[in-house]
């Protein structure tokens, strides 16, 4: 498992750069991860990220876009504007959570 130094701290990531230990995440890291994929985090981004973090802690799984929309209250259309093209994957990346996955 690669260990990399990012934003001045050591983090564990997988081959795609997703954090493998959600506890290594903090706000500063999220800002830096956002920059990495060309996203400057606004309050709206933070609302989505905070929901992802909280939901992951409670459920143990990265929420789907539908869940962020119905439970987190952010419409799917907005998520596509905030995190263009691949919102599910980009949100998970910035929030330091596993990307959404199937069984294979």
């Amino acid at each position: 498992m690669p260990v990399t130094t990012f934003n001045g701290q050591q983090i564990h990531v997988n081959e795609e750069g997703f954090l493998t230990d959600p506890s290594e995440w903090d706000d500063g890291l999220a800002t830096a991860l956002g920059e990495q994929i060309g996203i400057t985090l606004t309050d709206e981004h933070w609302k989505a990220i905070r929901f992802l973090r909280k939901d992951f802690e409670e459920v143990g799984e990265t929420p789907t876009l539908r869940r962020v929309s119905t439970v987190g209250g952010i419409p799917i259309k907005t998520l596509f504007v905030l995190f263009p093209q691949k919102p599910a994957k980009k949100m998970a990346y910035v929030a330091g959570l596993p990307k959404p996955h199937g069984c294979v």
Partner: protein, 416 residues
């Protein structure tokens, strides 16, 4: 007399009542199971119906015939569960009481949840294959389909049997080739996930399956509506995918009574402890099989392994002991890849599908993540095992917990 009430006589519910009836004295425990009709479906068979490999008669049986003596079978619609009074109201006015309740009402495809899906093109050029009716109608449509865009589409996760849309795609490819039509048909696989394969080992081992078959891929696709007039999927980010024949997996949701009873999440799945399947809200309620929110595949094998853990735990619980069994999310699934071959995957909450051999006492080694004829025969032979071994609640010669024996350990398994 203590009462165990099970809602749903599908794969999980049937196995539970049949196993527990053997262990709970008839003088001490009544066991009742409720379902809305008397037809038990062998759902894995739906995959093969469109290609004429099975007939509807081979994939259905009377529920009565699958339930053990001493199990009360009630046919009715559940209106709601009242967890405060330990009662279940049926829509015809009957009320059933319980000491322990198991919700095993599964997941249902809901085409009504996507605008345009249930309109004029439904079952004309838009089909599902997760219902007997859908699968049978699709078989008919395929007979006259000889050119154009065949789109296989998943609305959102989670879905029942997550590999089935891929299997359908492979079988459709093989079927069209056999009929000499493949050059006249474009096949497009549309998924809300970032890829057809999302786990590292699977992506590496199986990426070729789509390339080799010239199947186009549309990823991160969240459908907002169907443009019925122009026959196209339209996504939230306004990508249009036109189709001549759409095979869609509608949004999957748990039973509506779960929502009416205030026991479900946003998709009506019951939040439970993922190791004991016990409701997070009510300690005398469990949800087993597809009805729960556990982060495992919604699949018969998961239901089977979970039932084995649950029934042992339940006997401890009612004896006043702590439940010592812990479900690990074990799934074991065949993946049909066409041309009489299939792959096998075996995984759990923490371990992704790996390559290697799947050693089974009596049955012998099967190949993991590799297309073989033996795997296909395993899949086809499973129908007999389902009716005659699994549903009656007999033990299979396979371990309940996932085992690493025979597997090639991944070097990049994510850290815990």
């Amino acid at each position: 007399m203590k009462k165990l009430l099970v809602l749903g006589a599908g794969t999980a519910g049937t196995m539970i009542v049949n196993r527990l009836r053997r262990h709970l004295g008839r003088g001490q425990w009544s066991i009742t199971v409720v379902d809305q009709d008397d037809v038990h479906h062998y759902q894995p068979g739906y995959l093969f119906l469109p290609f004429g490999a099975y007939t509807p008669e081979q994939v259905t049986r009377s529920r009565h015939a699958t339930l053990a003596d001493g199990v009360n079978f009630v046919i009715g619609d559940v209106d709601r569960v009242d967890a405060a009074t330990n009662t279940v109201a049926l829509s015809d006015g009957r009320t059933l009481g319980y000491d322990y309740l198991v919700i095993a009402s599964g997941t249902t495809p809901r085409p009504d949840q996507t605008p345009g899906m249930l309109e004029a093109e439904w079952r004309r050029s838009i089909f599902d294959f997760y219902t007997l009716e859908g699968s049978t109608a699709l078989a008919k449509a395929l007979q006259t389909f000889d050119h154009g865009r065949l789109v296989v589409h998943i609305t959102d996760m989670p879905i029942k049997c997550p590999v089935a849309p891929l299997e359908f795609t492979f079988l459709a490819d093989a079927w069209l080739r056999e009929r000499g039509l493949r050059d006249r048909v474009e096949i497009i696989y549309v998924t809300p996930l970032p890829g057809a394969f999302t786990k590292p080992i699977c992506s590496t081992a199986l990426g070729y399956l789509l390339d080799e078959r010239k199947i186009a891929l549309e990823t991160d696709y969240m459908v907002e509506r169907i443009d019925v007039e122009n026959k196209a999927l339209v996504s939230y980010d306004e990508r249009e995918v036109p189709f001549d024949l759409l095979i869609t997996v509608p949004l999957n949701m748990g039973a509506d009574f779960v929502a009416r009873s205030g026991l479900g999440d946003e998709l009506n799945f019951v939040p439970v402890d993922k190791h004991t399947l016990q409701s997070k809200a009510n300690p005398n309620i469990f949800a087993i099989g597809d009805a729960s929110d556990i982060p495992a595949s919604k699949a018969g094998s998961v239901a089977h392994f979970a039932v084995e853990v649950f029934t042992d735990n339940f006997l401890q619980l009612i004896a006043g002991k702590p439940m010592t069994g812990s479900f690990d999310g074990h799934a074991n699934c065949f993946i049909e890849s066409g041309n009489g071959k299939a792959l096998l995957i075996d995984f759990n909450y923490d371990t992704e599908p790996l390559t290697g051999k799947y050693p089974l006492p009596l049955v012998g080694p099967m190949s993991l993540l590799k297309e073989t004829r033996a795997n296909h025969l395993g899949k086809m032979g499973f129908r007999w095992i389902y009716w005659n071994v699994l549903l009656p609640g007999h033990s299979m010669p396979v371990p309940t917990q996932m085992s690493m024996v025979g597997k090639t350990a991944a070097t990049n398994t994510p850290a815990k």
